[in-house]
Symmetry: C2
Subunit: 80 residues, 2 copies
């Protein structure tokens, strides 16, 4: 099964990478604001069903993929 | 208008970050394979309509956000 985990800096949390990208885009002449940069992690995992997959992904996030204090996580599954 | 740009390493391109995450997840006991790590960039931009927004985003990708030789880009717009 394929899962996609999108990890973003939470609202209100400083995002230096986003600020750097925003500054560069402005210098290039683009009229942008509120640029935020996060990570996307695509994972192929073994799971019997979607519930088990979601449980596994949740544990992966807690143990490695995200810092729940400053990051929010969005999971989507693509059964295959 | 809000846009979300997802930048992923292209199929077949080496992804050391993905390999590192895959190794760590396996050490933690997860049965995973083919882990790939990319970036997600959320941008608030000024555009009259979706076509203009897509044109702008395309230029941002070419000029700053992605390396077309090794990365693929997926754009989604959320008019607001």
């Amino acid at each position: 099964m394929k899962a996609t985990v999108v990890v973003r800096p939470k609202e209100g949390i400083l995002d230096p990478q986003g600020e750097a990208v925003e500054g560069s885009l402005r210098k290039l002449g683009f009229d942008v604001s509120r640029v935020r940069v996060g990570r996307v992690v695509d994972i192929e995992l073994s799971a019997e069903n979607n519930d088990e997959a979601r449980g596994q992904i949740e544990r992966m996030c807690t143990e490695l993929l995200a810092n729940p204090l400053i990051e929010s996580v969005e999971v989507s599954l693509d059964g295959s």
